[in-house]
């Protein structure tokens, strides 16, 4: 994938990727930084990713990985109090939904965002996350059941 192609993919997909990262639990600044890192990573590959099926999915997976690493570093080095201050209480329905999604295991969050925010198929999600298609299906079912239990069926 050439640099200019990456830029077009990145610009087209940025809103979905950003929202996807927020949905799996990233804060806005974390999501921005993680996407920047993923984009630079993609450019640095310099044509190594020729057979990439869904570059937007690849960007998401790499950004999610960067975000998790950064979060772990923050937890180690940042004072606990400051991190706590940055957590906001749910103030509306959509925030409440995001908060419930954030309580799901990371794998389920990644599957939900890949499938329903990035619009990846089950096969594409399985390939990008390096898991079996059956695992994608199972994670989806389990997440749906948990969210129905917590949020109700009528949402």
């Amino acid at each position: 994938v050439k640099a200019e192609t990456w830029e077009q993919v990145y610009e087209t997909a940025f809103p979905r990727l950003y929202r996807g990262l927020i949905a799996i639990g990233a804060r806005p600044t974390e999501a921005e930084d993680a996407l920047h890192d993923a984009f630079l990573d993609a450019l640095g590959k310099n044509g190594e990713l020729q057979d990439l099926h869904r570059p937007d999915g690849w960007l998401f997976v790499v950004a999610a990985r960067r975000w998790r690493r950064q979060r772990i570093r923050d937890r180690i080095f940042a004072p606990f109090g400051s991190a706590k201050d940055q957590c906001s209480e749910p103030s509306s329905d959509h925030v409440a939904v995001l908060a419930e999604i954030a309580r799901l295991p990371l794998r389920q969050r990644q599957v939900l965002v890949s499938r329903y925010v990035l619009d990846l198929s089950q096969e594409e999600t399985a390939e990008l996350l390096g898991i079996a298609r059956g695992t994608v299906a199972a994670a989806t079912t389990q997440a749906a059941a948990k969210l129905r239990e917590r949020l109700g069926n009528d949402r």
Binding site: Q8, E11, P55
Partner: protein, 227 residues
């Protein structure tokens, strides 16, 4: 409500309200500061591409002036000639191309019995655009998506399922002999048209088209002929 629909609605709703940072913050600061580095490189590439597009566009004016052509007649009209492409090959990663080459690439990647629909009219603001063939392949059925514009000025033509926020308003019109659903959302896409035709479910999604422009585009669609 099955799990698929439940999760689609739930996620659409939840992420739609997430505010995306302003566009100037999308690219990494490191590349923005890179002097003659990446940002300038993209600028040079864009300038070169623009020159090519202008040349191609001037050439195309003689046969299909996008943006100035009157509304085309329905599906029964002649198919649009496509530049032959040597071999059929799925498009798995986005490919920027000029308009004719882009549609030819899609046509060459999709079986002949599946209709590929290309617009013969677009608003003037899209007239000089190249396209990006995002994909054209068989993943759970034949699918393609071709994009014009960028960022806040985007229109995408697709076959196969696409992502959409929950519609705020919906209307159904009969165009080109089929029932077309036009809807608006508060997120992506701002407006869209969806219908079933030979080959599957087709859609046009955009950030900035007006309802009248969208209708005119749908009416202008013509199948791309094979080589």
């Amino acid at each position: 409500m099955n799990d698929e629909r439940y999760l689609t609605l739930l996620l659409d709703d939840a992420v739609a309200a997430v505010e995306v940072p302003p566009r100037e913050r999308w690219l990494p600061r490191r590349t923005r500061r890179a002097g003659i580095g990446l940002g300038s490189a993209f600028g040079l590439v864009a300038a070169a591409l623009a020159l090519v597009i202008v040349g191609v566009f001037i050439g195309q004016q003689r046969e299909s002036p996008v943006g100035t052509q009157p509304t085309a007649s329905p599906l029964a009209t002649a198919t649009v000639a496509a530049t032959p492409t040597p071999s059929a090959k799925a498009v798995e990663t986005p490919v920027p191309a000029n308009e004719s080459e882009g549609w030819s690439l899609v046509r060459a990647s999709i079986p002949q019995d599946v209709t590929v629909l290309r617009p013969r009219w677009l608003p003037e603001r899209y007239a000089a655009d190249s396209v990006v063939v995002e994909y054209a392949h068989n993943v759970g059925g034949w699918r393609y998506r071709v994009g014009y514009g960028t960022g806040n000025r985007t229109v995408l033509f697709a076959l196969g399922s696409v992502n959409s926020a929950r519609p705020n308003s919906t209307e159904t019109l009969t165009m080109r002999g089929v029932s077309v659903t036009i809807s608006t959302t508060s997120d992506w896409p701002a407006i869209q048209a969806i219908w079933d035709d030979v080959g599957g479910t087709y859609s046009i999604q955009s950030t900035d088209l007006t309802r009248d422009e969208l209708i005119r585009i749908v009416e202008s669609l013509q199948p791309v002929a094979g080589s």
